[in-house]
Symmetry: C2
Subunit: 191 residues, 2 copies
């Protein structure tokens, strides 16, 4: 239990139905292992279901707060799991997009994997940022002004992105590192 990097830190994990199962559970475990308290934030205060190998996952995930009550000021950072349906639903919800944008306004670390960067496009925070994503989202990120690269994990001033579940180990390491570092002033410039 010594040297846990996120002791006394609260981290928000924003997701809704259809998140890629491993992309929620794996970062959550990595954060908790480092001493963080993780709150799952969603669109409604009811359990959400992941997506695993082409079907709905068995065990639902408990939701702690909704985007209507959660406040970015209370969290040290934000993690966005992928899956195709999950970010598609989040980006279509104005309150969810505002919640994400709030972390950038405060200079707090934000991590997005796979299709999750779609939500960042709607938050209008990707212009000029170095990022990666699932390959199908590349064009949308480039059209939104991001500098897209094909690497397992990309860190740009508090913004952490990865391509797919195969990148989770590298993703989790950088998620912990960036949140441990705290505020990144340059994050604010993207808003």
């Amino acid at each position: 239990m010594l040297n846990r990097q996120l002791e006394n830190k609260k981290v928000a994990l924003l997701a809704t139905n259809g998140f890629e199962e491993s992309e929620l559970r794996s970062p959550m475990k990595a954060l908790v292992d480092e001493g963080a308290t993780v709150h799952v934030i969603s669109l409604k205060e009811e359990p959400i279901r992941g997506w695993h190998k082409g079907n709905w996952a068995m065990d639902p995930v408990h939701v702690d707060h909704t985007v209507y009550t959660a406040n970015p000021a209370e969290y040290a950072g934000l993690v966005l799991p992928g899956g195709v349906m999950n970010p598609d639903a989040l980006r279509g919800d104005e309150k969810a997009v505002d919640f994400v944008r709030g972390f950038f306004e405060l200079g707090k670390p934000v991590a997005a994997i796979c299709h999750a960067p779609w939500t960042l496009i709607n938050a209008e925070v990707v212009e000029g940022r170095k990022m990666t994503s699932y390959h199908t989202v590349r064009k949308d990120l480039e059209n939104a002004g991001a500098h897209w690269v094909d690497e397992p994990v990309v860190v740009d001033q508090g913004l952490v992105t990865s391509r797919n579940p195969g990148d989770l180990e590298a993703f989790n390491r950088k998620v912990v590192e960036e949140i441990a570092e705290g505020i990144h002033q340059a994050q604010k410039q993207s808003v």
Copy 2:
């Protein structure tokens, strides 16, 4: 059986697993009712499954040809059903994107509903076009240079787009109309 508008015309319908069930079956019926022969084109030569009210649909759809063997020159037009997972998979496949692009190069009518315009973004044919889509895809279309409007069906020189299954009646009517008209020279200018 008199006055069928698409007698002796072959129409391609491109989809893969996760298409919105109604957005494939309803236009297919409308086309067949007007005398067209409809070929379902997909990534692999195996049946594909739709998405219906939050779950995989029961009955698979037969695939006639793959994007590796089908040729846009043989069809009078192309229909792209939506669903979230379906166009996400198609846009990530280079051959599928080339197949779609082929219809624009030939000035042939193309119809896309819901999330299907994602594939058109990767085909790089939306710049300057007046279009609609499912609301979550709006930002990606605007960033790609499209002029997005919130209407049940939008027709721009052979390009037909609609927002969601609720628009199918208006969508189908315009799909039939544009394909009956034939080549639209202005479609070529978007390539």
